[in-house]
């Protein structure tokens, strides 16, 4: 894959294993992915494909008994896998932020919305400096007034000087108050109805859509470069889902963010993503621009997946389903992990793991058959 200065994050050969009593689950099988600044990249796949594990791995939050056992995640010139927890904490929640599926699980039921979001702001942003800057700007503004007396001017200039030499430490309550006003700003940004009221409410007092907005507000409060949204709308009703996705797209533009959107819903992907990566059993099997993926899918799994979705706008007699089921990742199939279910499997597919091939510009497929011209005949 071609790298560029426009690359935000690069995942190289990432491996994640889960050490369970039943055996080692090889959840991520050495995936490679590059995120371009400002894009919405969709990561799709069904249960167990590894998309959530990928999200967790980027933020170094892979739950035990999982571990990153190989590869690298390059961000800002550093390999996140090698960094200390201390260093990661400065990035996680601030530069790389997350929104997860079920807002009720990720909001603390014992604290108000205001308190929870303020906590994030106070942790990651230097509210003290924020207050200081504001105070300095205020003094400067006063100094510009034309009707200032000599004494006043003297006093203010001295105050300014003192502040710059020995910056004061604002009280905790002052900082908290400032953080809360920032919370209201962010809630307004996510179109939360009645933000001044919501800051004093508890999660259970909000509807599903509002809770999800609160989580998004929390994730965006520190203006991250990258937002990882793991099934952010799956638990919501269809009409609310549309609103939230619309909101995410608007915010992305406004805040100049990059979004990694993880979902199993191809409809969501079609509507919101610039590029799509399809995952299966721990591998990325296809990667392309959204339009191209939907119009010209190449990997047999992608083709099967798209064919099995009931269509709203066309008539379908019978849904084509992919035979068999998702493999056990403790003992995954040899060679290509999809080969037991694949209608195009050759002998090589059970012997050798395929590599990612660029079959047309910016369209990558991990498949032995896809690289060969004879494959196209068989497809049609």
């Amino acid at each position: 894959m071609k790298g560029a200065t426009r690359t935000l994050l690069t995942i190289r050969n990432l491996r994640v294993d889960f050490y369970t009593y039943a055996g080692v689950v090889k959840a991520l099988n050495g995936i490679n992915l590059e995120m371009i600044k400002g894009e919405t990249l969709g990561l799709v796949g069904e249960t167990g494909c590894g998309k959530s594990v990928t999200a967790r791995a980027i933020t170094l939050l892979v739950p035990a008994p999982g571990k990153i056992t190989g590869g690298a995640i390059w961000y800002g010139g550093d390999n996140l896998v090698t960094k200390s927890e201390e260093a990661i904490r400065h990035i996680r929640g601030r530069k790389i932020s997350m929104v997860f599926q079920d807002p009720m699980t990720y909001l603390n039921p014992l604290y108000t919305i205001g308190e929870q979001i303020a906590e994030v702001i106070m942790l990651h942003q230097d509210v003290n400096t924020l207050l200081l800057d504001e105070k300095i700007s205020e003094i400067r503004r006063k100094l510009e007034a034309s009707d200032l007396s000599e004494d006043e001017r003297d006093r203010l200039t001295k105050q300014l000087g003192a502040m710059k030499e020995k910056p004061p430490r604002f009280s905790k309550s002052a900082r908290k108050k400032r953080a809360l006003s920032r919370v209201i700003e962010v809630l307004r940004m996510v179109n939360m109805p009645d933000p001044e009221k919501v800051v004093n409410e508890y999660p259970h007092e909000l509807s599903g859509g509002m809770r999800q907005r609160a989580i998004i507000a929390m994730a965006l409060s520190c203006n991250p470069d990258l937002l990882i949204a793991d099934e952010p709308t799956t638990a919501l009703d269809v009409t609310i889902r549309a609103q939230i996705l619309e909101l995410l797209m608007q915010l992305k533009q406004r805040l100049n963010m990059t979004i990694l959107l993880i979902t199993h819903d191809m409809g969501t992907v079609a509507r919101t993503c610039d590029r799509v990566a399809v995952m299966y059993a721990g591998n990325i099997v296809e990667l392309a621009e959204t339009r191209i993926l939907f119009k010209n899918p190449r990997h047999p799994y992608t083709v099967g997946l798209l064919k099995s979705i009931p269509k709203l706008v066309e008539e379908t007699r019978e849904l084509t389903s992919i035979p068999g089921s998702v493999p056990d990742l403790i003992n995954p199939p040899s060679g290509c992990r999809f080969h037991p279910r694949c209608g195009f499997a050759h002998t090589i597919c059970s012997e050798e793991e395929p590599q990612m091939i660029e079959i047309e510009p910016a369209h990558y497929v991990m498949c032995h058959a896809c690289g060969k011209p004879s494959y196209f005949q068989k497809m049609n």
Binding site: E46, T47, S207, G208, G209, M210, D237, V238, T239, I240, R241, A242, Q243, L245, E246, H264, D265, M266, G267, T268, V269, A270, R271, T290, R291, F294, G304, L305, L306, S308, I309, P310, K311, L312, V313, T316, E318, L319, T320, S321, I322, S325, V326
Partner: protein
């Protein structure tokens, strides 16, 4: 077309107030066909499903099944006709007893209603498992040893064990992956034609509803707002809520970008629904009459019913 049964259900009571879960809902399900009931959370569709099999008791109303009002039956008589009315639930994990083997789960209906046991029972279970695409050798396994899709097949096997006439399917594929969903929907279609089943199919997924239904009823906060054939609902939706619902569905086609009809506000609670038309607080076509008077579900065309003042004007 033989009308199967009309259903009227009433208000659902709570001691501190009324959760108007299903509020004077009437519809009929034609024999051998599928009626899809679609709506968002809190609209009452699951409650409707459970009322039809009398899993919960209706506060008032009639459920006429094969000519008899089953609401008037006592427990003994109800049990006799229960074999004709079966249900498939949404969550294959919680609807199967984890301490029973598949053989027990699938065989229980036969055991209770027909007194079948021993070798006969085993044979019958074998046939049922094969019918739903499961390996009969697995009948001594427990639910947790199966995948989600397989568990749903077990639930279906149990539901068809007594050759029912009517099957209520409450979000049977919502918790399954897309490719597994396709397998299950195909299976249901096959069984419907083989066994001449009638389906009441409940779902929030419009694409699935479109695929399986002949007729569709759209629900909103305890009421049916529109009821028509599948073609009519999709080609000529009249109720503003139906139109908004259709426009907000995410379709797996990047070129399909319908004009999204934004709905302001959130879905009202069925405990204290808005006065008049329940949708008026969010409706782009709302008029003064909508706040004061509840619209009735009236026919507007060939088997097309809508409850809306703007439409019926």
């Amino acid at each position: 077309m033989v009308k199967y049964f009309p259903l009227k259900s009433g208000v659902f009571r709570k001691t501190v107030g009324y959760v108007r879960a299903v509020d004077h809902v009437s519809f009929s399900v034609p024999k051998g066909r599928t009626l899809g009931v679609v709506g968002e959370s809190g609209c009452g569709k699951t409650t409707v499903g459970r009322l039809v099999v009398r899993l919960i008791e209706p506060t008032s109303g009639e459920i006429i099944f094969e000519g008899n009002d089953i609401c008037k039956l006592d427990q003994k008589d109800l049990r006799k006709i229960r074999s004709g009315l079966q249900m498939v639930f949404q969550d294959p994990q919680s609807s199967l007893n984890p301490r029973m083997t598949v053989k027990d789960i699938v065989g229980e209906p036969q055991m209770i209603h027909k007194g079948v046991k021993g070798v006969d029972l085993r044979e019958k279970v074998q046939i049922l498992l094969e019918r739903v695409g499961l390996n009969p050798d697995h009948m001594y396994r427990f639910p947790h040893e199966f995948s989600g899709g397989q568990r749903q097949r077990i639930g279906i096997a149990r539901a068809i064990a007594l050759n029912p006439k009517l099957l209520i399917l409450d979000e049977p594929t919502s918790s399954l992956d897309v490719s597994v969903q396709a397998q299950i929907l195909n299976l249901l279609q096959k069984l419907q034609s083989e066994m001449e089943l009638t389906f009441l199919f409940i779902s929030h997924d419009l694409a699935v509803i479109k695929h399986v239904s002949d007729h569709i009823a759209v629900m909103y906060v305890g009421k049916i707002v529109e009821n028509a054939s599948k073609q009519t609902i999709f080609k000529q939706p009249l109720h503003p809520y139906t139109q908004a619902l259709l426009s907000s569905v995410q379709v797996p086609d990047p070129d399909y970008r319908p004009e999204m009809i934004p709905l302001k506000g959130t879905v009202p609670s069925p405990v204290n629904p808005p006065s008049g038309c329940r949708f008026h607080t969010r409706c782009p076509s709302s008029r003064p009459i909508c706040e004061s008077t509840e619209p009735q579900l009236v026919p507007v065309g060939d088997e097309h019913f809508v409850a809306c003042h703007s439409v019926n004007a």
